[in-house]
């Protein structure tokens, strides 16, 4: 995009201060949180309001300029790595919470609203927005919806897609589209909001999102269970679900992660334990009381060597401190942190953990595994140094084998981090040729010039 007249056109449209063309500015939008090589865009623009989004897209479409829309740039799959010389559109400045409706329990927000800020604004009105990705203090709602981000509460409360009631967006030509509604029920037309969710900026750019809110739980109880074997921990998970209890959070940590967290944070974890489960049940106080007791019994029956139930807010904090520091403790070990999220049916967790150990041994890799046991969504985290070519080669091999391992167990490439560029090449293995072709047909129909985040998810 070297044509100066085009840069001039964007400046006329948005004002010079919202158009960035210097080398440093472009370098600043060449990457995201994925461990992938940066790609320099040709121009970076900032819409001043939601209408600008349409005008920017129209101009891009007329001039065949690829557009990558970016929120906080925290996705882990290269979803915001632009096309070489393409345009990056920043929606992180559109931060208005338009409405929080207590009577009908929904919120309408602009795309750049920060997840945690929405959650606290909603909490201030006595309601609850549950999706809580680990990046919630910085991630944008649009980024969450476009990646269908999950979080610790996914097991009971679902993920981002479960909260999208409707949205407004601009399509590739800059045409404004509205779908969904503020009502619980709505069957007016195709479920376009469903199609737009998890679309990683490939089908259009959200300008407004309507989100479902729920009443907050009245009580909660947290506990930590310690195990001498991964199998026992996994059996516990299965037994809890079989007892028809859905904890809001059911997290797992392997021995390597336990040791690393303890080394770093000194929160008193048993470093000899082979696995930890961190469990929280919530809901009505009486129900929480019953379920917590039952979960404790199940943990014991399945071989937990120790169970620690948090008696107050401080102890509860301590239980979760361990989980919260997992990623940062691991990340400090080596320069490069590859955070994977292959997901398996929860009954296969022991096989998955064994498989991961084997991969680590085979390729001489350091892998710490933690994650959402209740969802079968583990985060094997490979600690390495990407500057060491030989080691990096082994990491790439290991990652490939992790994907195959998960797929072989009827699992999926990505539970919540998205496909982007990082996993686009593995898609066919999981969903098959037909699905890819169908997706490409939709993409061609809604974006004939392929300007919307080309190359993501379905390649091409």
């Amino acid at each position: 995009m070297k044509k100066n007249s085009l840069v001039g056109a964007f400046k006329d449209l948005l004002g010079a201060e919202n158009v960035m063309e210097s080398e440093t500015d472009r370098m600043n939008y060449a990457y995201d949180a994925a461990v992938l090589a940066p790609v320099m865009p040709g121009l970076v623009v900032r819409p001043r309001n939601t209408e600008d989004i349409g005008a920017i897209l129209k101009l891009c479409n007329e001039n065949n300029i690829p557009v990558t829309v970016r929120g906080a740039g925290t996705n882990l799959s290269g979803g915001t790595i632009p096309s070489m010389g393409g345009l990056v559109m920043l929606t992180n400045g559109l931060q208005r919470i338009i409405e929080i409706n207590e009577a009908d329990m929904y919120a309408i927000v602009e795309p750049g609203v920060i997840t945690a800020q929405l959650a606290s604004a909603v909490a201030a009105k006595g309601l609850f927005y549950p999706p809580d990705p680990g990046s919630q203090t910085v991630s944008t709602i649009a980024g969450n919806v476009a990646e269908n981000a999950g979080g610790l509460r996914g097991l009971k409360y679902g993920v981002s897609k479960d909260y999208v009631m409707g949205m407004e967006f601009y399509d590739a030509t800059g045409t404004h589209v509205r779908t969904g509604s503020k009502t619980v029920k709505c069957v007016t037309g195709f479920n376009l909001a469903g199609l737009m969710t998890a679309s990683e900026g490939c089908f259009g750019v959200y300008s407004q999102i309507t989100l479902k809110l729920v009443p907050p739980p009245k009580a909660s109880r947290s506990m930590m269970a310690v195990y001498d074997s991964v199998d026992q921990a996994a059996e516990t998970v299965a037994a809890i679900i079989a007892a028809k209890i859905i904890p809001c959070t059911l997290e797992f940590m392997d021995n390597f992660t336990i040791r690393t967290v303890e080394d770093f944070a000194k929160v008193g974890l048993p470093t000899e334990a082979k696995a930890l489960l961190l469990i929280e049940v919530d809901g009505h106080p009486a129900q929480v009381e019953d379920e917590a007791a039952e979960v404790e019994t199940i943990c014991k029956a399945n071989g937990a060597s120790r169970i620690q139930v948090a008696q107050n807010a401080e102890e509860r904090n301590k239980v979760w401190e361990a989980r919260r520091t997992a990623l940062s403790a691991l990340a400090k070990l080596r320069p490069t942190t590859v955070l994977e999220d292959a997901t398996v049916p929860r009954s296969r967790i022991p096989d998955m953990v064994r498989g991961l150990d084997a991969i680590a041994a085979r390729h001489k890799l350091t892998i710490g595994t933690f994650g959402h046991a209740g969802d079968g969504n583990l985060h094997p985290t490979i600690l390495c140094d990407k500057r060491d070519r030989e080691e990096w080669h082994r990491v790439e091999k290991g990652v490939e084998e992790i994907f195959e391992l998960a797929l072989g167990m009827g699992g999926t490439l990505s539970g919540e981090h998205g496909i982007g560029l990082a996993k686009a090449g593995f898609m066919e293995k999981e969903i098959g040729r037909g699905s890819i072709e169908f997706s490409r047909k939709i993409k061609r129909a809604v974006d004939p010039k392929n300007i919307l985040n080309p190359g993501k998810i379905i390649g091409g």
């Binding site: 440093t24 949180a33 910085v138 990340a331």
Partner: protein, 428 residues
């Protein structure tokens, strides 16, 4: 313009530090500058990506990178919360040095750092003259805060409410001092720092009063120089090293238990930045620096941890709110001690403000280069202070005091800005 190859080499020296950044972007949640601009180039991740881009030759605009690097408060909020343990401010200081070597120091900065700051006697004489003439250049703007505006200098200073230079610098009243340990059995070396010497002399007097009260001996050598932070922040390692040398000559190997300063920035610089930047110095100097740095302590911390000052139970009295200077809290982990000190007499109690631990937006020369952003950040702090309805805002760094005074005075707020040691000294 300097040698591009050498720049690459200097940047490759910090490659290990850069490589630790996993681009997670979590620093966006704490960076005060990013909160204002939402630009990636203003947050640690963006700056580190630019440095890697430059050192790996993906980009070549060193001037542009330097410009982005300079738009930073060096507040350390990013380093303090980075999940990957990236020492962002250390990176920025080293990179500023490398880039400045390449682009050259601006003539104004050269005159200030190489011509003046590194010659303490000349610096003192100039400031002395300045204090006599400042009435001509400035007009009284706010009688309550004792600040003034500088219409003649407004092209540089804008409408800042400036705290005046002292009519007699602290070091002129106390050129040197060496008293033995008293009942405490302790002796400190006292490093007031430039701002206490030249503007906030009352803080220096308060320190002496408190030390006397507790029977702590004081060693105050003549010819102390600036801690070097302003020079280093501008990438001038040459002046920085000269200043370190001057100060080592004053303090190294002298008999004292602890070196105290009432300036959070000086404390953090002496304690952490000196050893970090000492890598290129000879063994002897490095050892001297390590030995001295180990003894450096913030004044609040010294009084509470070493002398044993305790808060009075159920402290009542007037409400004081405390602002945690970045270089005290986030950098040195000193949070509780100044609060203890303030509540030691029972005449004051602490009324916490929201976000006491976020930056006030001063950031040394950041305030001069980016006054608008600095003011926006500062006004948020001001709002939080005023919301407590406390009569006094205390803090532990004269640089923060200047910024807080500017922010409060410009809104005509009746809140006094004080150093915690002043409040404590008053009650003895």
């Amino acid at each position: 313009m300097g040698d591009l190859k050498r720049l690459h080499r200097l940047l490759m020296d910090i490659d290990d530090m850069l490589a630790g950044c996993m681009r997670c972007g979590m620093c966006q949640s704490v960076c005060p500058v990013f909160a204002r601009t939402l630009n990636e180039g203003d947050v640690a991740r963006g700056k580190i990506a630019l440095l890697e881009g430059l050192s790996h030759q993906m980009i070549s605009d060193a001037e542009g990178v330097k410009c982005k690097l300079d738009k930073c408060l060096l507040c350390g909020s990013c380093s303090a919360s980075c999940p990957s343990g990236v020492k962002a401010t250390d990176i920025f200081l080293k990179a500023r040095a490398a880039l400045t070597e390449y682009t050259g120091l601006s003539p104004v900065k050269k005159a200030i750092f190489r011509g003046t700051l590194t010659h303490p006697e000349l610096f003192n004489r100039l400031v002395d003259m300045g204090s006599k003439f400042q009435g001509i250049m400035t007009k009284k703007a706010n009688a309550y805060h004792g600040t003034s505006c500088a219409p003649m200098l407004s092209s540089i200073l804008g409408n800042r409410q400036i705290v005046p230079l002292a009519s007699k610098p602290f070091r002129k009243s106390h050129p040197s001092m060496d008293t033995p340990a008293g009942k405490s059995g302790l002796k400190v070396a006292f490093y007031p720092g430039c701002l206490v010497d030249k503007m906030y002399t009352g803080i220096g007097e308060a320190v002496l009063k408190v030390m006397k009260h507790h029977g702590v001996g004081v060693f105050l050598p003549a010819n102390q120089a600036c801690c070097g932070m302003p020079a280093l922040a501008s990438g001038d390692t040459k002046s920085f090293e000269k200043l370190v040398d001057l100060n080592l000559n004053c303090f190294s190997g002298k008999g004292f238990d602890v070196l105290v300063t009432p300036c959070a920035t000086c404390t953090a610089t002496l304690k952490k930045v000196w050893p970090m930047m000492a890598e290129n110095l000879d063994m002897k100097r490095r050892r001297e620096i390590d030995a001295l740095s180990a003894k450096v302590m913030d004044i609040n911390q010294f009084l509470v941890d070493k002398v044993g000052v305790r808060p009075k139970d159920g402290a009542e009295g007037r409400a004081v709110t405390f602002h945690d200077p970045c270089h005290l809290g986030k950098s040195l982990g000193v949070f509780s001690q100044p609060r203890t000190l303030i509540q030691a007499s029972g005449r004051y109690h602490i009324k916490e403000m929201q976000d006491a631990n976020t930056c006030c937006g001063s950031g040394g020369s950041f305030n001069l280069q980016h006054y608008e952003t600095s003011t926006q950040i500062g006004q948020k702090k001001r709002d939080n202070i005023v919301a407590t309805q406390a009569e006094i805002v205390a803090t532990g760094c004269p640089a923060c005091m200047m910024q807080l005074t500017d922010m409060l005075a410009s809104k005509g707020d009746k809140v006094r800005v004080k150093h915690s040691i002043e409040l404590y000294a008053e009650t003895l």
